[in-house]
Each structure stands twice: as structure tokens, then as C-alpha cells.
């Protein structure tokens, strides 16, 4: 069971919001890069986020670039999972590959600061602030297996190959 608070963001948060190209020179210096996470979407994000929190976004989260640094700096900021109405394909895959769950659900009734409890195995999200319960869409088995091992690199280290 994951427990944390919701940090609400809007629709269409792009990879340029998450880490703008102007910081590309910091991509091999992740601790410095992480200081700028989401600053173009919410300038206070780094001061608001606490370890174990959840990003709760609208539709098409993570559209744009294939830069895996985007989910990486979100994970480094302490975010434990991302909830969104929909998510861009490459970002979704990248986040799972880093062991960061991305859960597709209707986020309309979750408010900023709400306390959430997420059961990844059961597929449920409970908003303990307002008492609502939500289900999230099924994740393909291969992604669940990758998530279960903590990401693609540990998955491949364990199995040496993809397993369907």
C-alpha cells in the first residue's frame, strides 16, 4: 500500500515543462538537473514535493520528447507514482522502465493536497480526504513484471531477456 499526498497539475504537461531543453547540459549531472523538475509547470513544485507524494495530472501527461530524464527527475524528487487521465506513450514506457508507476484513472475529483492510498496489486486508489474510491486501468503484464522488478534494467539483469 502506497500512502502520500496529491500534487495536482493540469492537462498536457510536456517533457519541456518537466525538464526544459535549456538544461540539457545538466543531463549528465542529475542532482543539478533535478533541481529544475517541473519548474515551467509549477515553479514551487520542488519546495512542495515530499518523498512518497503522487503527481495527479489531467490528460496527455508527458507528451513530447523521449528523454528518459523526465521521469527520472520526477522519481528523484521523491514522487512515488503518477496518476493521470491519459499519458503519452513514450513517457509511460520510460516511467515504468524506471520503476515509477503511472496509473490511468479519472483524476477530476482528486484535489491538490488530498491524502491518497494506492493498492497497486488490487488496482485501487482511495482518496482518504474525501472518501472517494477509484480504479485504474489495467497495465499490460510485461509492464507489471518490469515494475515489479523495479525497472527494465533490474528486470533484464534478472531474466537476461524479455519474457512474455
Amino acid at each position: 500500500m502506497l500512502k502520500g499526498k496529491a500534487l495536482k497539475l493540469g492537462d498536457s504537461i510536456t517533457t519541456d515543462h518537466i525538464i526544459p531543453g535549456r538544461y540539457a547540459h545538466l543531463r549528465s549531472n542529475l542532482p543539478e538537473l533535478a533541481k529544475h523538475v517541473l519548474e515551467d509547470a509549477d515553479p514551487k513544485f520542488t519546495s512542495r514535493v515530499k518523498k512518497g507524494d503522487f503527481i495527479v495530472a489531467g490528460s496527455n501527461f508527458g507528451l513530447g520528447s523521449s528523454r528518459e530524464h523526465a521521469p527520472l527527475v520526477i522519481k528523484m524528487a521523491g514522487v512515488r507514482a503518477i496518476l493521470a487521465k491519459s499519458v503519452a506513450r513514450i513517457f509511460f514506457r520510460n516511467a515504468i522502465n524506471l520503476g515509477l508507476p503511472v496509473l490511468i484513472c479519472n483524476t477530476d475529483n482528486i484535489d491538490d493536497g488530498d491524502k491518497l492510498e494506492i493498492d497497486l496489486k488490487a488496482g485501487t486508489i482511495k482518496d482518504t480526504t474525501n472518501g472517494n474510491q477509484l480504479n485504474f486501468s489495467q497495465i499490460p503484464d510485461i509492464m507489471l513484471a518490469i515494475l515489479d522488478k523495479g525497472g527494465l534494467i533490474p528486470y533484464i539483469q534478472k531474466y537476461g531477456d524479455f519474457r512474455l
Binding site: 519541456d16 526544459p20 540539457a24 547540459h25 496527455n60 513530447g64 523521449s66 528523454r67 491519459s86 534494467i153
Partner: protein, 411 residues
């Protein structure tokens, strides 16, 4: 069972998950360093297929600062140790080089860059992934894929004068939205395809990811064959198309004759309007180039409009040919001389100003009309800058007047 092109290329029905062999895998200088680190973190020592693995130094090349210089050095070292192909500074934009020299119909191509979809113009299942996926593809020579459902885009007719592939794809994205094809394949078909050149097809496939698509596919036909022959790669051609009665999630019909010069306004690609409606919008920088519109045909279109004219005094004009062969040919044809006479700055082959790293970074409050593929907030520099996307014709007309201009006014 009739198949879509996506189903043929992956040899499975849509919805299924497959382990696919990878015919070409690549990364570039902003995603490559993490790819190399993930490869090493996984304990891999050898590439599955060094001669089908490529690294490109194009996004920030030549390097604008010492941090990126260190990243370039890391990629050069990796190439030397692993024996993979490396396209160093000045060798062009990865997707252009892939189209000219490496991709062929039927290939499965994985690149650590979202615009890897460009090679779908040649009938390749080409898709962008992140560094971990590409690191594993480097080592194993395979990846896993969910076979996407397809949306058919059926085109008929011919482009009117001043209208081109960029206007078609901007129109389409405006219609279906920036998430209108998420997880899906966009498959282009219809009688009008015979009127869409390979250069235009590459533009269209390139931007299919801006609607969320996993791939943007064209059949491999006579135009593909002629293109590959012109590149000295006639043997790489094989015809490929969807079955006649394949089933699609939906079909979108577009009459090319009905299109007009189209512009995407800040800060999303689906925020489109006809160029004529944006008259009066002042532009401080015009940028012509990139994997979207940095080919010979694009530079020729711009040069023909700018011939004998000067850029507006308050509007700087920057041109980046997408590859050395584009630059050489543009010089032979006199286009580069025309552009320099019109006051353009010519950049070395590469990504140029597209992603805000160097060579044309925007200041707060400035507006740019770019032929690239993204206009997200902060994309080209200041988060307080404004990026408009249009065709090379719209870009050239805008450079002359200093405000967004329908190119048909200049023709």
C-alpha cells in the same frame, strides 16, 4: 485475415504484444549518454549488431558548452570501444541521415528520440523510445512492442500552390488533437499519395508523434523506390502496403486541394489556424531546418520565395540544412547563395535552434516562426517566448514581412 501495414510489419494482429527483432537502433547526443550508462549498468559489454547501431551528435553540435562536450566525448569513446557507427558534429540530423542512408521498407527501427517515426515514410516500423529501452535493444537486438491499432488517413487530390506536407500534418493534428492518435499507428493512404513526394512524406511521418502516434506509416511504392534509387540504395526497396480490406479504428479523409497554409500557435501543436488569420503577428526570428523541414525541397521552396529579397530588419533568418548532402546540393543549386544574399545565417547540418540548446535561443517575449515540429512552452529558450510552426514557404514569406504571412501572397 487482412492486415494493416502496422500488423504486416510486426507480423501480428493489433492488440498483441510481440518481441520484435530490431533492424536499426540509434541514439543522439541528448539521450545517448544515459543510454550508454544504462547499457553499462545492465552489465552489457557487446552490441548485438554494431553495424546496425548508430550514435548521432546533432542536437547540440558543435558543442556549445563543456558539459555537452563531455557528453560528446563519452559517445565517441563508446563508439570506438563498441564498433558502432558514429555520425559526429556536422554529419546532419539523425532522422535525415537514417532516411538517406540506413532505413528501408520493412525494417523495425528503435531510436532514443521521439521523431524516430520519420522513417515511417519509407515503410519502416520506426518508433521512439527512452534510454533504457534503447540500451536493451543495443545489447539484445530486440524489443517488445504492442501492435497498435491503426487510423487510416486517406488523401486525395493535389496540394494547391504554396501548400505542402507540413500544412497537411498541422491540419490533421489540429483536427484530431495532440493526443488524437496516442498508442495508435497513423497509416497514410489513398490516391493522393502519388502527389506527395518523399520529402513531404518524411515531414508528415515526422510529426505523427505530435498526435501521440507510435508510428506514422506510408506504403513503400514507386516514390519510395525512386527515392532509394536516388540514394544509391535501389536494392533496399521492396513494395509494401496494407491489405485492401484491412480494418481500421477509423478513417479520416483529406482532400489535398482543400488545404491552405497552416500554422500552429503557442504552446501546443494542435492549436492551429490558417496563416492568413495570423497576419499582424510580429516575428523576431524565422528558423528553417530540422528533421521536419530541413531537406533540399524545403530549402528550395524558401529560396524561391526569398530570391532577390531581404529579410525584414526586425526579423533574423536562420537556416540549418538537415544533412551535408542537403547542404552540398543546395549550394550546387544556388539556394544557399540566394539565402545568404537575403540575409540568412546558415548553420552547419544539425538540429540548430529547434530545441533551445544553441544557435538561436529565444529571449523572453520574442516570437519565432519555425519549420520544426514542437512549439511547447520553453522549447526554444525562454519559457516566456512564443513559437509558431509552419511550412518553409510560410517561414520564408514571414521572414520578408516580419509578421506571419500567407506565402500565397508572395507567389
Amino acid at each position: 485475415m487482412s492486415k494493416t501495414l502496422a500488423e504486416k510489419l510486426l507480423n501480428q494482429e493489433s492488440g498483441n504484444i510481440v518481441i520484435a527483432r530490431v533492424d536499426l537502433v540509434f541514439a543522439q547526443d541528448t539521450t545517448g549518454p544515459l543510454t550508454v550508462r544504462q547499457f553499462q549498468a545492465c552489465g552489457f559489454k557487446r552490441l548485438a549488431n554494431p553495424k546496425k547501431t548508430a550514435l548521432f551528435l546533432d542536437h547540440a553540435a558543435p558543442s556549445p558548452n563543456q558539459e555537452i562536450s563531455n557528453d560528446h566525448r563519452l559517445l565517441r569513446q563508446f563508439a570506438q570501444e563498441s564498433g558502432c557507427l558514429i555520425y559526429d558534429v556536422g554529419s546532419g540530423v539523425c532522422h535525415q541521415v537514417v532516411a538517406e542512408s540506413l532505413a528501408k521498407p520493412g525494417d523495425v527501427i528503435v531510436g532514443a528520440d521521439s521523431h524516430t517515426v520519420t522513417a515511417g515514410a519509407l515503410g519502416a516500423f520506426a518508433t521512439g523510445m527512452g534510454s533504457s529501452d534503447v540500451a536493451v535493444a543495443l545489447a539484445l537486438g530486440k524489443t517488445w512492442l504492442r501492435v497498435p491499432e491503426s487510423i487510416r488517413v486517406a488523401v486525395e487530390g493535389e496540394f494547391p500552390a504554396g501548400v505542402m506536407g507540413k500544412d497537411l500534418i498541422l491540419h490533421l493534428i489540429g483536427k484530431i488533437g495532440a493526443d488524437g492518435a496516442t498508442y495508435k499507428a497513423l497509416e497514410f493512404g489513398g490516391d493522393g499519395l502519388e502527389n506527395i513526394t518523399m520529402s513531404q512524406r518524411l515531414t508528415i511521418a515526422n510529426m505523427s508523434v505530435e498526435s501521440g502516434a507510435k508510428v506514422g506509416l506510408f506504403p513503400a511504392d514507386k516514390i519510395t523506390r525512386d527515392y532509394l534509387s536516388a540514394q544509391g540504395r535501389a536494392k533496399d526497396y521492396k513494395p509494401l502496403s496494407a491489405d485492401e480490406d484491412a480494418s481500421y479504428e477509423k478513417t479520416i479523409n483529406i482532400d489535398l486541394a482543400s488545404l491552405e497554409p497552416t500554422v500552429a500557435k503557442p504552446h501546443s501543436v494542435d492549436n492551429v489556424a490558417p496563416a492568413r488569420e495570423l497576419k499582424g503577428t510580429k516575428i523576431q526570428q524565422v528558423f528553417i531546418g530540422t528533421c521536419t523541414n530541413g531537406r533540399l525541397e524545403d530549402i528550395a521552396i524558401a529560396a524561391n520565395i526569398l530570391k532577390g529579397k531581404k529579410h525584414h530588419p526586425q526579423t533574423r533568418l536562420i537556416v540549418a540544412p538537415a544533412s551535408p548532402s542537403v547542404l552540398l546540393e543546395a549550394m550546387r543549386e544556388g539556394y544557399i547563395q540566394t539565402l545568404i544574399t537575403a540575409g540568412a545565417s546558415i548553420l552547419p547540418p544539425g538540429c540548430g535552434a529547434c530545441l533551445g540548446l544553441h544557435q538561436g535561443v529565444l529571449a523572453s517575449g520574442e516570437a519565432c516562426l519555425s519549420t520544426a515540429n514542437r512549439n511547447f512552452r520553453g522549447r526554444m529558450g525562454s519559457p516566456e517566448a512564443f513559437v509558431y510552426l509552419g511550412s518553409p514557404a510560410t517561414a520564408a514569406a514571414t521572414a520578408i514581412t516580419g509578421e506571419i504571412t500567407d506565402p500565397r501572397e508572395m507567389m
